[in-house]
């Protein structure tokens, strides 16, 4: 394991994390969240179109603090911070479960970064020559400047393999026409542009498409999670030009694969932050709630599950920083560690969600208790990019693909 002992988590990374903690503590507490998304249960689930409330003022503050620029390379006007900093930020977002396009934007950033790197490699001649100038950097600059973005790689079938994209790209001259559907697009109604996987002659490419492009329709899903929005995108002859080609046809799947460890690590970190909230909240309840003349935490049927929650969270959290550190310093290790992190975080979230309702008893089953807001967010992220057993199946495939045992495969 050729990585810094401390995960490379130094003072700079700590500053990012602490400032995030401070801002979110002030601006995104649990009362704020409840007021924002859960004031009215009928509105939440029974409106014709499900509302997707978020705090745009908070978003502006995030931009001012440079959070969108955090992961953007310096040559594209970003801060080019380490992945461990990005993970720490995602963890804080998860801890407060705040609705915002930040996580989606960070994920899109990772895909664009991978695209830019590949294009640069190509330009440097170490890859196939490109017929168009690399466009990814320009889109990264927009993100650095505060433009929210998200990815649209997934077909309605829910396959996580971008090769299965249900969007077709047809090129004539300098313009490309997109037709088809992308599903499970996170924070679609908050994003200003989408990074879309589309197949065409030459294979799968990635295209950046502004949300207001004619022919593009955003069809909101009705989802259980109240802390985000999700939608289907319908592409009816969406016409874009070469400045939208962030990954040339044939390079799309490879680029997404290169970005996948970072994508998984970000979601895993979000899951860990929220799971820690579930642990702390359930612990606090077990301290104060009394039954049978004892705080319920006295009973091992409550105490031991809470301890298991803690051990699950810690397992996942350690893997998240290991994966992030590998992305920074030891890329060969990243795919394995990131899959492990997402697997552990997904399972931890599932268990913490389950116990956080059960151990809160009757009150935990009611709308007024905040527990359900986190449970629903966790269930959503548990399945995003594949749940625990999905990741383990991929890990086993890694072993079959390579020499050596799983622990080093």
């Amino acid at each position: 394991m050729a990585q810094p002992k401390d995960f490379g988590f130094g003072s700079e990374e700590q500053m990012v994390r602490d400032s995030a903690r401070k801002l979110l503590k002030d601006a995104a507490g649990i009362e704020t969240l409840r007021a924002l998304v859960a004031r009215d249960h009928k509105a939440a689930y029974e409106s014709a179109v499900q509302p997707a409330p978020w705090d745009e003022r908070l978003w502006t503050q995030m931009i001012e603090l440079g959070w969108t620029a955090l992961a953007v390379p310096e040559d594209a006007g970003g801060a080019g911070m380490k992945m461990v900093a990005v993970a720490a930020l995602a963890e804080e977002i998860g801890r407060v479960a705040v609705p915002s396009p930040l996580v989606s934007t960070l994920v899109a950033t990772m895909v664009l970064r991978a695209a830019a790197e590949r294009a640069a490699a190509a330009a440097a001649g170490s890859g196939p020559r490109l017929q168009d100038p690399p466009a990814a950097p320009a889109w990264l600059e927009r993100i650095a400047a505060g433009t929210p973005a998200t990815i649209a790689l997934t077909p309605p079938s829910g396959s996580w393999d971008p090769a299965d994209t249900a969007v077709r790209a047809e090129r004539n001259g300098s313009s490309i026409v997109l037709r088809g559907e992308a599903a499970f697009v996170q924070d679609a109604r908050k994003a200003a542009f989408f990074v879309v996987a589309a197949s065409g002659e030459g294979g799968v490419g990635l295209y950046a498409v502004a949300a207001d492009t004619p022919g593009l329709t955003i069809r909101p899903d009705r989802i259980a999670d109240l802390t985000r929005d999700q939608a289907r995108l319908a592409f009816d002859d969406v016409r874009i030009d070469t400045s939208s080609i962030v990954a040339a046809p044939g390079s799309g799947t490879e680029v997404v694969e290169a970005a996948m460890p970072a994508m998984l690590t970000i979601v895993a970190a979000d899951l860990c932050g929220a799971a820690e909230w579930q642990l702390q909240t359930t612990t606090e309840y077990a301290r104060v709630r009394t039954q049978f003349d004892h705080p319920i935490g006295f009973f091992q049927a409550v105490k031991h599950p809470i301890v298991n929650m803690m051990m699950d969270v810690d397992r996942a959290r350690s893997l998240v920083y290991a994966a992030a550190c590998a992305i920074d310093t030891d890329p060969g290790e990243a795919p394995r560690l990131a899959r492990m992190a997402k697997a552990a975080a997904s399972d931890a979230a599932a268990f913490c969600s389950d116990r956080s309702i059960q151990l809160h008893g009757g009150i935990g089953f009611t709308w007024e208790c905040d527990v359900h807001l986190y449970v629903k967010r966790q269930k959503h992220n548990q399945f995003l990019y594949g749940d625990g057993s999905y990741q383990r199946a991929r890990l086993a495939a890694l072993i079959d693909g390579e020499a050596g045992g799983p622990a080093r495969a």
Binding site: H41, K42, A44, Y45, E46, T154, P156, S157, G158, S159, D161, A183, F184, D221, R222, I223, A224, D225, Q230, R232, Q291, F292, D293, F299, A301, V302, A350, D354, I357, Q358, G361, G362, I363, G364, F365, T366, W367, E368, C369, V371, H372, V375, K379, H380, F383, L384, G386, D387, S389, Y390, A393, R394
Partner: protein, 402 residues
């Protein structure tokens, strides 16, 4: 149910049930029917379901085995047949589920003849809806910690207190209620009553909102409600014993099926297999995934085992402690329903994000809803933690965790 051992009368009754259901299957409602009766919210749902129960009752498919003098059919071994046929036909469930599954058997076992004559007929017909008043804000899982008080005053009782988790209270005429009649003894201080709800002076019903966003269960506040002594069930101080009887019959409630149909557990397993066959996962279908297959089969085994344990519970030479199997059913079913829903979400993968009413949600988003609602069953009526204490203490004789 062994059709081979059916008497001629039973065979005839089964054929009658099938015929009657075929001819009387109700038209599908224009509105959504919730998954379980305890989620019934709107007046139109109530009317639709009450009408259906009444017709089933009048046809003899409900209350078949109750004595004639109490409004029943006076048969033996008919109800199970009717229930099975209603289940197979997947017609709507009986709305008066708490009345049928909990109040009726309790009254039949512990009630006076007068109570049986007065309450059972309208209960079976669905003319009077029942709810249950056991849980309290501070006695969620400690059932014996009930604080709602009943103070004797001549030949009547003055009831004060606060009950939660009272599904259907917003439609109910009556509640089976556990009260504290003495603070000196924890268990012997409890007495069991039938108390009026709808329109009764001193009773306030407030809807509670569930984590699903649904209402459909309530809190009920009692302020100096006057209850005549002839509404007391069994002796003063016998409340705990009577409540245990009630919980034994709650099984049906947990199953969401009720005495009359709804989705059977077998059908839910079939639904999981079908769901898995239809979902893409890691290059194949979810059903091609060995882990998914294993999990679904684990559930199928638990479903079958539950049926077989219910069967074995009635075969004396194959049971030890008489309560050993019956006391398990609440834990078994509630956790089975929870795991069923959790596995369904795993099968759905990203589709598990799609909630009730989403255009693309598999099975109209029922599984995320079922998952959240499943906690109602693992928490309510003595949380499963408490159920395990009871099993360990009452069946295995382990020291009381109090």
């Amino acid at each position: 149910m062994s059709e081979r051992t059916f008497s001629p009368e039973q065979v005839e009754f089964r054929d009658y049930c099938r015929r009657w259901i075929a001819e009387n299957r109700p038209a599908a409602p224009s509105f959504r029917l919730p998954l379980s009766p305890i989620e019934v919210m709107t007046e139109e749902q109530r009317r639709y379901l009450c009408d259906w129960q009444k017709r089933c009752y009048q046809a003899g498919l409900i209350g078949s085995d109750y004595p004639k003098e109490y409004g029943g059919g006076g048969h033996r071994g008919f109800q199970a047949i009717a229930t099975q046929e209603l289940g197979r036909a997947a017609v709507p469930y009986m709305i008066n589920i708490i009345g049928l599954n909990m109040a009726a058997p309790t009254i039949l076992n512990h009630g006076t003849d007068e109570q049986k004559r007065r309450f059972l007929p309208p209960l079976l017909s669905g003319d009077e809806i029942w709810c249950q008043g056991f849980s309290e804000p501070n006695a969620g899982s400690d059932l014996a910690g009930v604080q709602a008080s009943a103070v004797r005053d001549g030949d009547q009782w003055i009831v004060n207190g606060h009950k939660v988790w009272t599904s259907l209270a917003h439609f109910a005429s009556w509640m089976i209620m556990l009260c504290r009649s003495s603070s000196t003894h924890k268990y012997e201080g409890l007495t069991y009553f039938i108390v009026p709800i709808a329109g009764a002076k001193g009773v306030t019903v407030r809807p509670l909102i569930k984590i699903t966003g649904e209402t459909g269960f309530n809190e009920v506040l009692f302020e100096d409600l006057v209850v005549p002594d002839n509404l007391r069930v069994d002796a003063v101080g016998k409340g705990w014993t009577v409540a245990m009887t009630t919980l034994l019959y709650e099984r049906g409630a947990a199953e969401g099926a009720g005495s009359g149909g709804g989705t059977s557990l077998d059908e839910r397993i079939d639904a999981l297999v079908a769901l898995a066959r239809g979902m893409k996962r890691n290059g194949g279908s979810a059903w091609d995934d060995g882990v998914i297959r294993d999990k679904v089969m684990q559930l199928a085994i638990r479903v079958e085992a539950m049926r077989q344990s219910a069967r074995r519970a009635k075969v004396e030479p194959l049971t030890e402690h008489p309560m050993r199997l019956p006391l398990q059913s609440k834990v078994q079913i509630s956790e089975l329903l929870q795991d069923l829903a959790a596995v369904a979400l795993e099968i759905e993968g990203p589709h598990a994000s799609l909630y009730l009413g989403d255009a693309h949600a598999p099975e109209n988003g029922q599984w995320p809803l079922a998952y959240l609602n499943s906690y109602g069953f693992t928490i309510a009526a003595g949380s499963n933690e408490i159920q395990r204490n009871i099993l360990g203490e009452r069946v295995l004789g382990l020291a009381k965790s109090k």
